[in-house]
Symmetry: C2
Subunit: 351 residues, 2 copies
Amino acid sequence: MSKKVNIKTLAADLGVSVSTVSKSLKNSLEISKETKERVWAYAQKMNYKPNSLALSLRNKKTMTIGIIVPELVHHFFSRVISGVEQVANHNAYHLMIALSNDRLDKEKQDVEMFANGRVDGIIVSVAKESFEKNDFSHFEDLVNRNFPIVFFDRVPTSIRALKVIIDDIFGGYQATKHLIDQGAKTLGILTTPPHITVGVDRQKGFLKALRTSQLPIYNQLQISINEKYPIVKQVEKIFSQGILPDGIFAVNENYAAIALEIALEKGIKVPEELKIIGFTDGLISKTTRPRLSTVAQHGFAMGTSAAEMLLSYIENKNMLEFDRISLIETNIVQRESTEKKRNNYPVVYKK
Amino acid sequence: MSKKVNIKTLAADLGVSVSTVSKSLKNSLEISKETKERVWAYAQKMNYKPNSLALSLRNKKTMTIGIIVPELVHHFFSRVISGVEQVANHNAYHLMIALSNDRLDKEKQDVEMFANGRVDGIIVSVAKESFEKNDFSHFEDLVNRNFPIVFFDRVPTSIRALKVIIDDIFGGYQATKHLIDQGAKTLGILTTPPHITVGVDRQKGFLKALRTSQLPIYNQLQISINEKYPIVKQVEKIFSQGILPDGIFAVNENYAAIALEIALEKGIKVPEELKIIGFTDGLISKTTRPRLSTVAQHGFAMGTSAAEMLLSYIENKNMLEFDRISLIETNIVQRESTEKKRNNYPVVYKK
DNA sequence: TTGAAAGCGCTAACAC
DNA sequence: GTGTTAGCGCTTTCAA
């Protein structure tokens, strides 16, 4: 069990001062070539690695960024994180990840621990509970202190800060328009409760598409799902409103998959009699039968964008960019669930 | 932009020394009640939070653990991480995550940055490339230095260290036995190249089950998939060996899903004519039709177990436990792809 | 009861 | 060209 070596032990062993060692390792021109080489050789031999805590403390720079997500076991967030990680890495930054589990108090804790010296900046998608309780004080503190922070996806509208979002209204519009283009005329939507902004916005886009296409709007076909109660039961309601939709837009892929299952069970043919489109291009959509069309949300791109904004803010604290919002484009991924006529399903494998 | 306060500013503002402040905040009985309360109130008012870097440096304890995984966008690893996070949290530890992307050099970097003061211990699933090149030197260093480290899932057999694994041989046996119990007699396997231990072990279990059941072993039905080439083409081979399997064991869920698709495309009925079972209980298995039976790998449990081992090692460096291996049990999750006779698929919704 | 000072590991201004 | 020293923010021994 060889103990960890530090600059002091190196200096002692070599019979020089710590500053000589430090300077040598940084290849300072103050130091003679001979000394430097002696130091290098010995440092190498001893497998010396500088202590990053000491470095960070000294330089007031941790070279790491923190990210807080509501959950990890979720394709979208994993993708975002991968994107962040890529940019971080390219810039020699490290990543620290915290999970809020959609809880407000956990989020506060995480924010606090990050903001107290552990990281140079934070990327965060806000917990559901924070929206429910409309409590963003922990973020406001940071923003007021000018602490580098970038919000993505689920962002607090009340806070002026760097944000990376998709245009949810447009995404909802796109999805609905796609259903209409594929021949649907009686459209329903499976959406979230009112406090989830992204759901609300997608719904706005949905309504806009109906209006511009001069199609009827059926209130009874707009179902808000409350995840505190069994989802399936609630989704089922869209099929028992007297009028049967021939097109359903679900604001996430889970609802889309459930609607699909229920429809199939009821003997409704998808896509011939009913077209379904989801949101977010996750794994589920690719493996249902028929496969689900969806609005791709480009999580990886959101991650890289968020990281880039954060790093540029960290490095030059450019106030001009302070209120910048990066809008990531969505686009339709058409699969079988919205085909005009059902083809024989093409077998398209992953990879 | 209120600047961050530290103990020094508090002391100055209060007209006391830093040590008085420090002791007050720790509720030391050396300090008078009045002073303490004055300090508390002011610290509160100024929203003082101790700098964690300074604390870590001082205490030689970071209260964070690092985890290195090959990839994040992967249900199993996300589950493991969630498990680790839960235990870490319960013990007031934080989590730092690094992605090796299955690359050896990245893994070395990550290990190094973690081991140099950033974390108190490391949990890691080793990169594929490290196995290919058979290079575990970066880990050996740590183990020799007695740095707390726990391997999980993909572990280097040559290193004596704490490990959390599943019994892959038994898992493979279980899966194969299940196929046999469900009536399969001509069995094939989709496995990995020889350097991936988990694939090899699952294959061992497969062979063992065939032997104990006195069923024939067909070499041509044992396909090793090399992911550097198109997977689908390689999976397809299992259907063109002259003899058609009526049971396939795939060592991961992706291969299982692909085999299922190919079979269906070829008009082979699943599960009537062919039974398929995968490994790892991910999202894919739940959404194919028919749904895929699988060997559940219990990622979350692996995570909690790994974290518990690591923490107990960190806290008491108990040498007696040094070589302990924690074996997480697997079990069969039966779904439609291995039913004896095909029922009408029950509609089982998520949630 | 309070304060001064050393030190965690490192860097950098300044002295020699 | 090399060494001394102060200091990053904190804790803790020791002295007052």
